[in-house]
């Protein structure tokens, strides 16, 4: 059901130049500034719409139009439902009135009837946590108290669409949490929302559809991922990766296990004790073996013996040779959990379609203090995980990649996988064939410009140009072009092959839509493999290097999409967050929500 429709809506403001002042005003001939134009938008029931855009792009004007506090200069807006706005909290508060009087005044201004206000009055006071202060003049309140009261009133109005402008959370941390819970509640209740935000993480996690505004026009709309990409492209038109920005980025991560001899051991101060640490497959069966690409869940049960605060949970995955694959923790992922009380709890790390290649891996689990100085309890690589499947030339993981342009992949019969043993001891060496000439590789970023520093989670392209002499016409029928990405310490991460089409000048582009590699140095090797001869016709091994940086800290080599499920025994000192006595948090983290703010 459609609740709001904007049809070619636009809004102009008269620029009133103070210098030319009254004469212009009388003739009403000031110059005109269009804050918003040609806006087409439908808001349906149960839809969460996000509006992103730079400062001054028209977000607030659009929200005000939807909320009804501004009218449109052209076009139309059709509203079939009640709209509630969280734009300016507590507009019209009278300082000399008590909180109670202001609730009635403000709620009436928002369009509530006296009877409705009577019904929700108690809820408003409870939610605002003002207690007895509700009978004190609001002039004596702190700014935070006023905001809390304003927020509480605004969210207790019946509505079909809620319009909000980056004020999803006011007050201290615990109140902010409450605000966010309330928003999530509304989402569950199937209310529609329009949210203007700068926080791309929120836009991506929370919204069903995004609109990108630029100079008052809709620059892009649709699925969050695509729109955010456009937004980032827009931002970086103004050189987002300036030298200064680059220098503040994370450039290194931990890449190896430093204490392999300690694997299997356990240490910690034991305020919290891990009681169980196990892996589960997608059907919830406890197992240590999964297939490549399957969903896997690591679950850690723990018992809290003493109340602790400032802690975080971590899980790490190592390959059996000690290569650090990935080590997510709740702190890197921005999950702030303040305290936990005594009791039992668990945390789960869930990875959909684990992209690690077949092999044997070991997992660690730990509950750390804030600064990772000591662990409350730490299981070092005590959980074995075997990933089965046909091994594909020893690479670490399968990154999402594609070749530009369509070509039939090599058939199973002629699938010729380069035997990389051939390249052992040939690091940083070339073997050129006079009949095959490689032009230098070029690395391209998401704007198509040449670079050698890339951001985790952004598009990455490798452009290869090479020439094959017509004399090799026969042998290239069974040849493939191979591109391999290595860590600078020679760990093979990912390889791609492509059938060589013809002799002459070849140009290929290998595209990684999202480069999931974590910060550090990487090398690229290329070669043309002749499976008939079981040898490389030509290769250039580890000759080209690029760097990956990120604005987010992480351990390991590759970013794996994951999700945390937490179940934490609550602190008795904290107000009840829900009736079960536990804080449930399901933080869904997808595709670099946090990487995009750069």
């Amino acid at each position: 059901m459609e609740i709001i429709r904007l049809n070619n809506a636009g809004r102009k403001f008269n620029k009133i130049d103070k210098r030319a002042d009254s004469k212009d005003v009388l003739k009403s001939r000031g110059s005109v500034f269009w804050a918003l134009r040609n806006i087409y938008m439908n808001i349906h029931k149960e839809e969460i719409i996000g509006i992103i855009g730079r400062n001054g792009s028209g977000k607030t004007t659009l929200l005000n139009i939807i909320a009804g506090s501004l009218w449109v200069s052209e076009g139309e807006i059709i509203v079939n439902g009640k709209v509630s706005a969280l734009l300016t909290l507590g507009a019209g508060f009278q300082d000399e009135f008590t909180g109670q009087e202001n609730i009635y005044l403000n709620a009436s201004l928002l369009g509530m009837k006296r009877e409705e206000i009577n019904n929700v009055y108690k809820d408003i006071v409870d939610f605002s946590e003002l207690g007895d202060f509700i009978n004190a003049p609001i002039g004596s309140y702190s700014a935070g108290m006023k905001m809390r009261l304003g927020f509480s009133i605004a969210i207790h109005k019946e509505f079909d669409v809620l319009v909000t402008d980056e004020i999803m959370a006011v007050g201290d941390v615990s109140f902010q949490k409450k605000c966010f819970e309330k928003m999530a509640d509304f989402k569950r209740q199937g209310k529609s929302m329009v949210i203007a935000t700068q926080d791309i993480g929120i836009a991506e996690r929370f919204c069903d559809k995004l609109f990108l505004l630029e100079d008052g026009l809709i620059a892009a709309s649709g699925a969050p991922m695509e729109v955010i990409e456009r937004y980032q492209a827009l931002l970086s038109k103004n050189k987002i990766l300036s030298e200064g920005a680059r220098s503040s980025m994370v450039t290194e991560t931990k890449r190896w296990s430093t204490d392999m001899e300690e694997w299997g051991r356990r240490e910690g101060t034991k305020e919290v004790v891990i009681t169980d640490f196990a892996m589960f497959n997608k059907s919830g069966v406890k197992t240590n073996k999964i297939k490549c690409g399957e969903t896997v869940k690591a679950r850690v049960n723990f018992t809290v013996n003493e109340e602790i605060d400032n802690f975080h949970f971590g899980v790490a995955i190592f390959r059996e040779d000690g290569v650090y694959c990935y080590g997510p923790n709740t702190q890197f992922d921005g999950l702030a959990i303040q305290r936990m009380g005594k009791g039992d709890g668990y945390f789960e790390l869930e990875c959909d379609k684990l992209p690690l290649m077949p092999g044997v891996y070991y997992l660690s689990a730990a509950i750390w203090d804030k600064n990772e100085i000591f662990a409350y309890d730490y299981y070092k690589c005590s959980c074995k995980l075997e990933i089965s499947g046909a091994p594909v030339y020893g690479q670490l993981l399968s990154l999402r990649s594609k070749w530009y342009g369509f070509r039939m992949p090599p058939s199973r019969k002629e699938r010729c996988v380069p035997n990389l043993d051939y390249l052992i001891d040939k690091w940083e060496k070339h073997a050129n064939n006079s009949l095959i000439t490689f032009e230098p590789l070029r690395f391209l970023n998401n704007y198509g410009s040449k670079d050698n520093i890339f951001l985790t989670g952004r598009e990455f392209k490798i452009k290869l140009d090479f020439k094959i002499d017509a004399l090799l016409k026969e042998s290239i029928k069974e040849s493939v072009l191979w591109v391999g990405i290595y860590r600078s310490d020679k760990v093979y991460c990912h390889g791609s092959i492509r059938k060589v089409s013809s002799c002459g000048v070849n140009s290929e582009i290998l595209i990684y839509p999202k480069l999931d590699l974590l910060p550090g140095g990487y090398k690229v090797s290329i070669g043309i493999w002749d499976s008939a001869a079981n040898a490389f016709l030509a290769y250039s091994h580890g000759a080209y290097s690029f760097k990956v940086i990120s604005d987010k800290r992480d351990h390991g080599t590759v970013y794996l999409e994951h999700r945390w499920n937490l179940h934490i025994p609550k602190n008795p000192l904290q107000p009840d967050l829900n009736n079960h006595g536990y804080l449930e948090s399901n933080f869904v983290k997808q595709n670099f929500g946090g990487h995009s703010n750069a």
């Binding site: 009388l26 139309e76 807006i77 709209v83 000399e96 009087e101 009436s108 201004l109």
Partner: protein
């Protein structure tokens, strides 16, 4: 064209009666909460003004109000006048002063001047009751015409609402309106038989000027109030006071101003967001 403008139309003024009431109460509370005598000031001021004029004109200058006690004669015109004046002058800046809510909450903006008028009406009603007490105390008969009082107050209120809408909207765009209103108010005060008797004007003035003077709708309103308050006043009215200038002009004028205020407000409302913040 714009759905929101439709909702702002005054046809649903009664839908918003609770909000009008809440805003009017806000006005009154802001005005009277802090002063010790609070609400009483609103009653004391017009009565005291009447007393001052009475002492000045009657005791010092011996200008009489004719057959009826001069104090009653004064107060019957000064009370409606003070209602008229405070409401109109109070609403001139009302829209401008509420910019924080106007820009940020979607509600019908005309409610602001209307609620200002309502607040003044709520002041006016207890004053009327005290006035009736004075009339009784002066042993003046209250005739059955008093039943028309609500109609006259309603008509008067329509006029005031019309004017309030007009000036409050214009004030946002043209900030000179405030001073203009002050001058007009001052002129109107002396052009209505509030502090002097109508009979004197008719007796002393040239016939043409008197004719023009009688066209002033506020003269009609003053006469109407006196007719309903003072029993028997109708019978001693001068010849020049007739149905045309006492009933038809005030009714037509009030209706006209209300319509004008409505249209002007609707027209200028769209400009508010351009002008409110500068």
């Amino acid at each position: 064209m714009n759905k929101w403008v439709d909702t702002v139309k005054m046809k649903n003024v009664f839908e918003h009666k609770e909000l009008i009431y809440e805003l009017a109460i806000r006005d009154l509370k802001v005005r009277y909460r802090k002063p010790f005598f609070g609400f009483f000031w609103m009653l004391i001021i017009p009565f005291f003004t009447a007393l001052v004029y009475k002492v000045l004109f009657l005791d010092f200058m011996h200008i009489s109000g004719g057959k009826y006690p001069f104090f009653i004669y004064l107060i019957t015109s000064l009370l409606p006048w003070s209602y008229f004046m405070t409401a109109v002058q109070g609403s001139v800046g009302s829209v401008l002063g509420s910019k924080n809510i106007i820009n940020q909450i979607s509600f019908p903006k005309y409610l602001i001047p209307v609620s200002t008028v309502l607040a003044n009406l709520l002041n006016f009603i207890p004053a009327i009751i005290i006035l009736l007490g004075f009339i009784a105390a002066f042993n003046i008969k209250i005739s059955v015409l008093i039943l028309f009082l609500p109609i006259i107050v309603l008509m008067h209120t329509c006029l005031i609402i019309g004017l309030s809408l007009l000036v409050s909207a214009l004030q946002v765009v043209y900030r000179d309106v405030e001073y203009f209103v002050q001058i007009i108010m001052m002129a109107l005060f002396f052009l209505t038989p509030g502090v002097y008797s109508l009979e004197e004007v008719i007796k002393e003035g040239s016939p043409i000027l008197v004719k023009i003077y009688m066209l002033n709708p506020l003269v009609g309103f003053t006469n109407l109030y006196r007719i309903v308050f003072i029993g028997g006043y109708l019978n001693i009215m001068p010849r020049e006071v007739n149905v045309f200038n006492t009933i038809i002009i005030p009714v037509v004028f009030s209706a006209g101003i209300l319509c004008a205020g409505y249209f002007i407000f609707n027209k200028y409302e769209k400009k508010f967001s351009d002008y409110l913040n500068i």
